[in-house]
Symmetry: C5
Subunit: 298 residues, 5 copies
Amino acid sequence: MKEGESMVYSIQNNTAELLTTEQYLTKYPFLCPYQPFVDTIKNHGINSCKADIFSDFICGTLLIPDKRNPAEKEFCLSYYLSKDLLVLIEDKKHINNLETIIEQRKIMNVSSLPQFLFLLAESLIKDDMVRLQDYETHLAEIEDVILSGKDLNMNHSLIDVRRKLLRINAYYQQLSDFGSELEENASDFFSPADIQHFSVLSNRAERLLNYTQFLREYALQIREMYQSQVDIKQNETMKILTVVTTIFFPLSLITGWYGMNFRNMPELRFPYSYFILIGICLIMVIAEIWFYKKKKWI
Amino acid sequence: MKEGESMVYSIQNNTAELLTTEQYLTKYPFLCPYQPFVDTIKNHGINSCKADIFSDFICGTLLIPDKRNPAEKEFCLSYYLSKDLLVLIEDKKHINNLETIIEQRKIMNVSSLPQFLFLLAESLIKDDMVRLQDYETHLAEIEDVILSGKDLNMNHSLIDVRRKLLRINAYYQQLSDFGSELEENASDFFSPADIQHFSVLSNRAERLLNYTQFLREYALQIREMYQSQVDIKQNETMKILTVVTTIFFPLSLITGWYGMNFRNMPELRFPYSYFILIGICLIMVIAEIWFYKKKKWI
Amino acid sequence: MKEGESMVYSIQNNTAELLTTEQYLTKYPFLCPYQPFVDTIKNHGINSCKADIFSDFICGTLLIPDKRNPAEKEFCLSYYLSKDLLVLIEDKKHINNLETIIEQRKIMNVSSLPQFLFLLAESLIKDDMVRLQDYETHLAEIEDVILSGKDLNMNHSLIDVRRKLLRINAYYQQLSDFGSELEENASDFFSPADIQHFSVLSNRAERLLNYTQFLREYALQIREMYQSQVDIKQNETMKILTVVTTIFFPLSLITGWYGMNFRNMPELRFPYSYFILIGICLIMVIAEIWFYKKKKWI
Amino acid sequence: MKEGESMVYSIQNNTAELLTTEQYLTKYPFLCPYQPFVDTIKNHGINSCKADIFSDFICGTLLIPDKRNPAEKEFCLSYYLSKDLLVLIEDKKHINNLETIIEQRKIMNVSSLPQFLFLLAESLIKDDMVRLQDYETHLAEIEDVILSGKDLNMNHSLIDVRRKLLRINAYYQQLSDFGSELEENASDFFSPADIQHFSVLSNRAERLLNYTQFLREYALQIREMYQSQVDIKQNETMKILTVVTTIFFPLSLITGWYGMNFRNMPELRFPYSYFILIGICLIMVIAEIWFYKKKKWI
Amino acid sequence: MKEGESMVYSIQNNTAELLTTEQYLTKYPFLCPYQPFVDTIKNHGINSCKADIFSDFICGTLLIPDKRNPAEKEFCLSYYLSKDLLVLIEDKKHINNLETIIEQRKIMNVSSLPQFLFLLAESLIKDDMVRLQDYETHLAEIEDVILSGKDLNMNHSLIDVRRKLLRINAYYQQLSDFGSELEENASDFFSPADIQHFSVLSNRAERLLNYTQFLREYALQIREMYQSQVDIKQNETMKILTVVTTIFFPLSLITGWYGMNFRNMPELRFPYSYFILIGICLIMVIAEIWFYKKKKWI
Ligand SMILES: [Mg+2]
Ligand SMILES: [Mg+2]
Ligand SMILES: [Mg+2]
Ligand SMILES: [Mg+2]
Ligand SMILES: [Mg+2]
Ligand SMILES: [Mg+2]
Ligand SMILES: [Mg+2]
Ligand SMILES: [Mg+2]
Ligand SMILES: [Mg+2]
Ligand SMILES: [Mg+2]
Ligand SMILES: [Mg+2]
Ligand SMILES: [Mg+2]
Ligand SMILES: [Mg+2]
Ligand SMILES: [Mg+2]
Ligand SMILES: [Mg+2]
Ligand SMILES: [Mg+2]
Ligand SMILES: [Mg+2]
Ligand SMILES: [Mg+2]
Ligand SMILES: [Mg+2]
Ligand SMILES: [Mg+2]
Ligand SMILES: [Mg+2]
Ligand SMILES: [Mg+2]
Ligand SMILES: [Mg+2]
Ligand SMILES: [Mg+2]
Ligand SMILES: [Mg+2]
Ligand SMILES: [Mg+2]
Ligand SMILES: [Mg+2]
Ligand SMILES: [Mg+2]
Ligand SMILES: [Mg+2]
Ligand SMILES: [Mg+2]
Ligand SMILES: [Mg+2]
């Protein structure tokens, strides 16, 4: 698309247009009477997928996050759809990508404006399942490492994945609501065939949502397992501490005992009492080790 | 609005009025036959957004909390809507703000009474998304601080945010129910175009609700992470305690041992035994440090 | 109401009656063919709000718990409603209270039997919002005390509030189901205006349910905070133990060391070594305190 | 019912039959074309309540667990219902109980086959509310014991109750689905009056389900409280350990100190230093006890 | 099925075909206009059960996991269904199994193409309930072992079961959505009798889903119990540590005390003081053991 020029597609006597924000505001200053839609375009304030359906037009926004880093936007466009006009508004930076997609997927060859919108939305999510499967692979790796007990520092990776999945979850919920909103409430606008397309889109978004929820529950189970591992490790540390204390405190008491300076301690004077004591101490240590071995503490 | 005078707007042969509690009770003492509505006005007892739909009138309340401190009310008004009359009742303090909003947004230029109510409700939530995004920024800051491990006292900030989000969540649920109640059950009152407006309002409230739920789940994940950090710190404290005990208890036993006062302890008399003991102790300490280093406890 | 006499209200050619269990069983032994309804009356076995809708009559029960102590019943009545007869059955103890309510709220002036039932049900929940707000105030107090860290024994109060809220939650769910059951399935019985009344009742019960759920989630957040406080306290106790152990064990080893009885320990004989040792110990203690101060453990 | 003979009831020109598995397979080998139904009967494989609705017949199973021990079955029967035939298939052991119930409740006096099935299903759950209330009493006892702190071994009872409630929950969900399946999808088979009966059954099952869910949440709150008690006990154990360590370690150091064998320790020679030391030690102990009393640790 | 040959079944003038991926791409290169369906076949990218319903055809995939190891696929086929043609596409490896199932269950004798699809889907899940019951048996074993306290290492088995159940849960949800999608939206394609078959399939999948959810909640309760056991064990370890410390520290202090080298310690010189001390120490130990026995710590 050249500078200052807008893309115009002719769809069965109707028109689909691809405009930058500036072009839209110049060309169609009074097209959409719904004030919040115009405000959103002016403020570049797109933050969700949505469709607001009025009696003579539909307007809304589409936001496609980068699945690998869902806090970043991949595309964000506004659209206005009436009986004979579809306007797509993107900012300057991404508008050429959008044009490429429209041409590669041959979206301009459709038979109605709603189908144009449907095919565009579908193009933008077509590889999502593969990208979500990368998350599953990553989670399985984290699970293996934590289960093996080698590295309990996978917690940070897990937190990162969970935050990303939470954002992706919110996105697919919006997309599914977008599709079903159009499916359910736009029968004045759309032919039954068009409505079936939006039903397919909504179902597809819902399947992606279900898979995301599966991944989130998987991540939650890994976190619970991690928590268990931390608790088990703590139990083991505690057992070591208790074993060490139980072995050394009695011996320590014995040595303290015969370090007392009472004049009249007969044991101190018998010539073999030192060697007898060594024997007693050895027996005590062996008994305690045997006891804790049996208890499986060491 | 001057003292004692009420605002009256003429909407397509019908009337919309803005009244204080006192003005309403004086002017329309028997307007609304639904007793709880009158009680609410008398007691200034507005605590939710709601719509009660009867066969010849709709009455209800709107409560808009201050999003930054949702325990405080920003606006709270009652409304009564019949075929040809819309009455809005606010207390004296905020009624001028309401008048300003109506004039700034040009709400009096609408084509029907329900649309008046719709545009007013929408004006009152128009900047909410931006204010909710402040919560997301705040949560991200709290998360960074906790993840860095610098300060585990962010717990109080987090508790505060969660309490606020819980309240905001309840509010958007009410607003969404308010919109969908009007959308679904008021077809005797409203034209199809009016109903579509309330559908747009309800969807908007639901999107804000979804975003609030996203924020609450984000806050919950941060809390879980915080909990993990507390548990990990405790594990580390425990490890330090165990390492210190395991190193010093055996050495302590040895010193206690040679502090015993048995007459017949041959080691005490050999001239190099003290220096041999120093060597043994050093080896023990080094071996234990090496062992715990390998275990990654220190 | 006098002994042995039943209250009879005439509503637009139809009859509403207020009876004790005994009066009902004597006067209408074969009125209701649905066996479980009769069994419930005979056994005084009312334990929920419900409506069973048959093709020529509706029967059910209403149970209003004491909101401040929801394990206790405030009212529990059975009702039987056909086209021209409404029978309300209460036990002897509370029936006069019911009569008082009917007269104070002027319920006998309604224009249909279903509206009689609606107004009665509404009277019984009219002050509930205020009573629920007492729970919110109580929870806020508990939260403040726990947050301040002064008293961790608020756990018992919190458990008590949570148990009560759980019971209130179940009650409003029943009441909301009762209203929507009548709203949805009783179109053979009720005029559209009557149905709208039951819709208002159901919505009101649902708003109370939503507020109860808000309170329960608030209580849950307080419990989680309490749990965090307990864990943090434990961490602090552990740190004190570790600090004390880390400071005193090395000093203890040193004193044990120079308490050994080897003949050939040159340090013991140097005249200043005792004073050098005092210096070394002081430096060790100061270094450790500085270290733990920096770590913010003490 | 005598050996080899089947029970036959005549309901308004139609037939209801009570058969054992063997009788069914002999008498009606090709009645039901839905293969899984026949397989279930052959394998005695009933494990849920269900209804499969086809265009000319309905078939399914009913499983009634023993509420006091829900892993055991009380009744399990298969049924086949067409326009003019209802067949109930039970195994030999319980079929006489079923016959008794049909006669006691006078189920054979109904006016249609679906009503026969409805009354039978209702008879099988008629005392359930009372049995569920036993669980509530039991849970309240467990709660009291745990709250009193006397016995933390109630955990096993609680686990047992929770497992049973989980199973009962699944059962009422099936029964409620069974009723609403018949209510919603069997309008070709059933008259409106019949359908209203299944609606009453479904609502009744749902109320029992709601009560079960109430009990499960109650059990969950008790478990959380138990968990808190365990954590608080652990905190107290830790405090005792810390207090003991903090009191005895410094005293122990002092005694170790004056057990050192340096030649030049002037304190050892002053005649009153021993008694001064006793004083210092007493002051230290008293100060520490006072400190921990103030901290409410002991 | 021989190499290079495809299975063709004639169903009431219509055709059902069983093809490998290669056969499909050769024989019907332009059959399905929905691009993602063709992409899925080309990439062997089947990862869910789904149905996309368009105005003149239905396409989708079926994935049947191995219930004992649900990360592995047992079958995965694509299907295309129009008014007069049903195409089933499997990869080469499993296509013969599919043929066997079709012949064993006599699926080719049905009266319509949708019923062919229904019977096939049902055959693929017919033994699932039995396989799920194996999970219940396994969970009950794990529970017994953990409850007995013998082996806390069952955690790994439990984690494995929970991961498998999570995957099975997602699968039945898809299958239930698949059935209800066909039931609800395909009335242009299917006769009422066909639709009732898909309703039966959907209900069956939902019952399996409900049972899976029951198993998952059971697993969750076992995990919570496991967590409690870990906490209780830790409490016991802590108590042992505290008891050992409380008994030995005071004795140790006493021995340290009389190991001090003050010149003027009168007790050291009394001839019986050593034996008196032995008595005092014995009394202290006995008192402490009695105290902890009473507290039920040992
Ligand atoms: Mg979300
Ligand atoms: Mg899901
Ligand atoms: Mg879903
Ligand atoms: Mg999550
Ligand atoms: Mg933990
Ligand atoms: Mg813990
Ligand atoms: Mg809420
Ligand atoms: Mg939603
Ligand atoms: Mg959401
Ligand atoms: Mg929502
Ligand atoms: Mg929350
Ligand atoms: Mg913790
Ligand atoms: Mg912990
Ligand atoms: Mg409940
Ligand atoms: Mg709610
Ligand atoms: Mg609700
Ligand atoms: Mg709760
Ligand atoms: Mg804890
Ligand atoms: Mg702990
Ligand atoms: Mg369940
Ligand atoms: Mg329910
Ligand atoms: Mg429920
Ligand atoms: Mg419930
Ligand atoms: Mg539970
Ligand atoms: Mg715990
Ligand atoms: Mg799932
Ligand atoms: Mg379930
Ligand atoms: Mg379900
Ligand atoms: Mg789970
Ligand atoms: Mg734990
Ligand atoms: Mg713990």
